[in-house]
Symmetry: C2
Subunit: 371 residues, 2 copies
């Protein structure tokens, strides 16, 4: 049975409701279903390896997911890339972040010159690091790894108006896809997604509130490190925005109303990566919000996502639970940039190495359970 | 200030009670205190790096711990080795494991031929893997990476008598030290400790009960995958052992009464590694029990330990909490062999790379908080 047959057969016997009817929104390609037959075959193979059943814990379903994504029992991480989408937010002027908005531009330069956390981790993991200027309020200059896709110098302030126009939102979604496609070299099958944008946990909180229906207060956290007074100000600011306009249920309208350009591009990048059957390593709160938006647009997209870590940002744990997914790491990181996902790549690699290289009970002459 | 001065100064101003008074038990070298001045300097340096304060979460104290162990602000993992101590347990004949005791010997051969999980992970991490036959009930043969230190073909059954003689216990502790010293090549500063022994979570449960005072039932888990009936049998068996002899409070007596040869050797290896100022990556439940025993013999030993993961084995979480330590990974693994610690090494490496290579706010021209 070829992989294609496995996919086809699985699809034909699938009892889930039909989705998207062959067309995806905004001209995005429909995300193919992952190969459930291969996932099951991977699970069966794990039970033949020299270890008690299930003893590798969550590494087993993790490797099986990658098998299903790649539709093979020889899964491999090939030429992984990290992409950080950066943009500014109109609301940042209201003091919803511990840092001034100038830091977004400064950090883009730091990413490119190799001094930021994600720069260090990308090098450690052997990944190319790309930065996308999605809407930084400044001049990021030129650099071979900088993709300039600036929609505008920062979004509008959502307390007063929609952060972007519908055209800008659609454009940002498409630019996210274009960036993903540009950084994908021959064989790249894994992408780490990160973000940078002073004020973007404020936007993310409104988006989460709109998608999950969780109380807005429960979606708001300290971001880069707000003190109690700053947190109260952030909450009041977001309450004012939600009072101006109740969050729309349509994901694109929701993004248009409250989103950031980097968040819209991340959403487009998730959809594009999933459409290309790539493994998507999701970072923290804001990237998870983008993954959730992508899943609203095409539910199959979520099957391509591995959630690298649970951030210390207050609402991330609840959002992961809402998506019914479990993060790999939980070490109180809250930096963004893709750092949690970059570290988690090591765990994915370990899971795949174990799956491929371990001996079977039969091959190694090891007795099975209760034998 | 040299590293040596830093250590000396810290020690002289230390207000903790004097320990060991210059001699360690059983001829073990006294474990030196880790370098608290360097730990504090590392924490201060983290606050100068281009990220919000504390945003790397637990990676920050982790890197600072390694700095303190190595007494340098340029910490590095050099030539790490993994050592798996293997032995059999008399109690295994009472059906306290889902697997027959023959599996211990079979798995030793699997470790050496490269098919076991720890074999795969050691290769992935670039570590030499050593196996110590501490008391396997079988013939493990000869292999360049096998250290034969067999005390006896398995311990005695603790339901009926002490598992080892006092001489055997002291010998095993010393053999653990000898094995650690033998595998340490020039520059090795990091060791991953693992174990293999059908029945050893039963022994570990009694040891934990003796050390922590936790109810015995709370120290018992399913090990390699006991069903409900097997778990009830394991509990009853351990209750019988504890009824024969209340667990002694002295760690060496406790080991003598209920321990396994691999657990005693692990205890000796932890003490020896800490005495050499090595970073010790602790794996799951049984290795944590050994680390706890080592800490009973010399409390400073615990400062050299990083706990790689929290096992799905029931009692591990409570034991980690008792030791007041936090594991790095928590992905429901329960395989032993050192596998959780081996995967966690990637996180340690990431923490050190970030600490050493990230730019400072000043160097990168990034604005600080609220500036």
């Amino acid at each position: 049975m070829t992989a294609f047959q496995a996919r086809g057969r699985n699809r034909s016997t699938d009892t889930a409701p039909a989705r998207n009817a062959g067309t995806a929104p905004l001209g995005f390609a429909v995300v193919p279903r992952i190969d459930e037959a291969t996932r099951e075959a991977a699970k069966c193979r794990f039970d033949t390896l020299t270890k008690p059943q299930g003893a590798l814990g969550r590494l087993e379903p993790l490797a099986a997911q990658v098998c299903a994504i790649q539709s093979t029992l020889k899964p491999v991480i090939t030429r992984p890339v990290a992409i950080v989408f950066a943009a500014d937010h109109g609301v940042a002027d209201r003091g919803v972040s511990a840092y001034p908005r100038a830091v977004t531009e400064q950090m883009v330069k730091n990413f490119l010159s190799g001094g930021a956390a994600i720069s260090v981790l990308a090098k450690l993991q052997g990944m190319k690091l790309w930065i996308v200027d999605a809407g930084v309020d400044g001049d990021c200059g030129k650099h071979p790894r900088l993709i300039t896709a600036k929609i505008r110098r920062g979004t509008r302030d959502f307390v007063e108006q929609a952060t972007m126009t519908p055209d800008e939102c659609r454009n940002a979604l498409r630019q996210g896809r274009a960036a993903l496609e540009r950084v994908t070299v021959s064989g790249t099958n894994t992408v780490i997604l990160g973000e940078m944008g002073i004020g973007n946990t404020a936007a993310s909180a409104l988006l989460m509130h709109g998608m999950t229906g969780h109380q807005l207060a429960d979606c708001v956290g300290r971001g880069t490190g707000l003190d109690d007074r700053g947190l109260a100000r952030k909450r009041a600011t977001l309450e004012a925005a939600a009072a101006r306009r109740a969050p729309p249920s349509d994901p694109v309208e929701l993004l248009t109303e409250f989103g950031g350009y980097e968040i819209a591009m991340l959403t487009g990048a998730v959809l594009a990566a999933a459409a290309r059957r790539m493994l998507v390593l999701v970072d923290g709160f804001t990237v998870t919000v983008a993954a959730a938006l992508a899943a609203r647009m095409d539910p199959s997209a979520l099957d391509y996502c591995v959630f690298g870590h649970c951030s210390a940002e207050h609402a991330h744990r609840a959002l992961l639970a809402h998506l019914n997914v479990q993060p790999l790491l939980d070490v109180e990181m809250r930096l963004g940039e893709g750092t949690g996902a970059a570290i988690a790549l090591s765990t994915v690699r370990a899971a795949l190495a174990l799956f491929i290289e371990m001996a079977t009970f039969e091959g190694a002459g090891v007795s099975g359970k209760d034998s």
